[in-house]
Amino acid sequence: MGGGEAHSSGQAHSSGQADLLSFWFRRVVASDREAFESLFRATHDGLVHFAASILHDEGTAGDVVQEAFLRLWQRREEHDPTGSVKALLYRTVRNLALNVLRDGERRERLLEERADLPGAGAPSPDEALDARVLEERLRRWIAELPDRQREALLLSRFEGLSHEEIGRVMEVAPRTVNNHLVRALRALRERASAHGFTAHLEG
């Protein structure tokens, strides 16, 4: 117990979730099916989104996540129940998704599709005020980030993994995770302010 750490309410929330996940995980390792279902329901969608960010195909992403959970259950007794189940699941999903990419000729197709994304034309001031436009732009800019940076950003910002956990998923040091994240955020900030979204970036 780390006692004495001050948490913001947001962090307290996510650390509460981490406790719950690790509680379920310990039960799963002890073959508790209900805990497995709870774990599945709590993490499934995030994993599918993450897999889809690699595969650009939600159907395949769903398959990959099914496979990852099936493996988790079949090998449940081999896992260290005190480890991070999030890191374990995301790493499995990532490896499976990369296998799928490697296996298929999909890869080339995907690269073509990505080249077809609408270009980043200069926005009009009106556009800049439109949240939907902002959202679309952000998505595109995230898609254009180098793979490692995008991956670190998605896992941290949208899936709530710690640097430590992301390090285990991506098989790099937490320090490297931090570098990827910082670069990703700086790049996005640069893009946003170059495209006139400055109002959103001022304190």
């Binding site: 509680f23 969608d45 398959d63 099936l70 493996r71 079949q74 979204f197």
Partner: protein, 354 residues
């Protein structure tokens, strides 16, 4: 900052960057696209999709093939782990007819002083089709061979339940349930071996260790590790009360740790004399800082006697005793009485301490 939902706070590591404030704003800006997904958001349809995803997984867990909705994608095949019950281990049957003989492993002791030793180790039958329960009765020691090739030695008045087969799937394959005390010699395998007691779980790879689980005054679950590595964790009832708790400690050889009765987490590992913790295996008797009540109960189990206690005897006082060799109960009781300023006498069924 309140402009965008921001369910995941910026990691503390980023606060150390020179442009932390800018990073934080960018972090918050990204809240406008949460959740990130291809197309639809997490709306009402998602709950149904989640149910379907779970049902599909459940079907796969039952051993059916994965229903692949996207047959164009070839996933790595699931490593096959078919249900493969092995034949009933011969030791289970053998035990039925070996009352007493197998209860005493060491025949090198210089004459056994105990009438109680003639009391057979009870080899109980089967509590359920898939599990086997073995009991060492009062006065007896019993050896148990486990389906995976591991072995356990039970102290008097202890029971061990294990699965009949080494199942690849059932979850119980390398999990045993212990009431009382046992010494384990676990063969290494890729799968974890688990000993469950009333309040604890001991998780091991190949190793030798002693577990004492007594649900009584001054009791609890105590583990002493001889070789290898084990992890001691509180069981689920304790975890439910304290889900965030670090309810586990890892032991190095020569260390011990325990979860006292009523505690929700293990105490810190400490150096122990493993020979003391396992003195019972050679019919010695060793207790460290245990209440008189627990010591007398241990003597009752070990020597298959009843020990009555006269009113006024302080049962909570703790005592440390250590005999490496087999001793007569009179010797031990005499020492206990001397140490506590008490006396004892023989009765028709055993002894009385007063």
């Amino acid at each position: 900052m309140a402009r965008f939902p921001n369910s995941h706070p910026m990691p503390p590591e980023l606060q150390g960057e020179p442009d932390a404030a800018d990073l934080e704003r960018t972090w918050a800006l990204l809240g406008s696209i949460e959740p990130i997904s291809q197309g639809k958001g997490r709306g009402e349809g998602e709950g149904l999709a989640l149910d379907r995803a779970w049902q599909r997984l459940e079907a796969a867990m039952e051993g059916d093939d994965i229903v692949t909705e996207h047959p164009s994608v070839s996933l790595q095949p699931v490593s096959p782990q078919p249900f493969k019950p092995q034949p009933v281990s011969p030791h289970v049957d053998r035990r039925q007819g070996r009352s007493g003989r197998g209860s005493i492993r060491r025949n090198s002791w210089p004459g056994l002083l105990l009438a109680a030793a003639s009391v057979a180790a009870l080899a109980l039958g089967v509590t359920a089709f898939s599990s086997v329960t073995v009991e060492a009765g009062p006065g007896a020691l019993t050896q148990v061979s486990l389906p995976d090739g591991s072995s356990a030695e039970l102290n008097s008045g202890s029971t061990l339940t294990h699965s009949r087969w080494a199942l690849p799937w059932g979850g119980g394959a390398r999990t045993v349930r212990l009431t009382g005390e046992a010494y384990f010699d676990i063969v290494a395998a890729s799968r974890l071996f688990t000993v469950e007691t009333f309040n604890a779980r001991v998780v091991v790879l190949g190793t030798r260790f002693n577990v004492r689980a007594r649900d009584e005054m001054g009791g609890g679950t105590d583990v002493a590790l001889e070789t290898g590595r084990v992890r001691l964790e509180a069981r689920s009832t304790a975890l439910v009360r304290d889900p965030g708790g670090r309810a586990a400690v890892e032991l190095e050889p020569g260390q011990g740790a325990g979860i006292p009765l009523g505690a929700v987490a293990p105490g810190p590992p400490a150096l122990v004399t493993v020979e003391r913790a396992t003195a019972w295996r050679a019919r010695g008797f060793a207790v460290t800082d245990r209440p008189l009540d627990a010591i007398l109960r241990e003597l009752e189990r070990r020597f298959a006697v009843e020990i009555q206690v006269a009113p006024g005897v302080e049962l909570g006082d703790t005592l440390t005793l250590h005999y490496t060799d087999p001793r007569d109960i009179r010797t031990i009781l005499g020492d206990v009485a001397t140490a506590r300023g008490l006396r004892f006498r023989e009765t028709s069924r055993g002894f009385e301490v007063f």
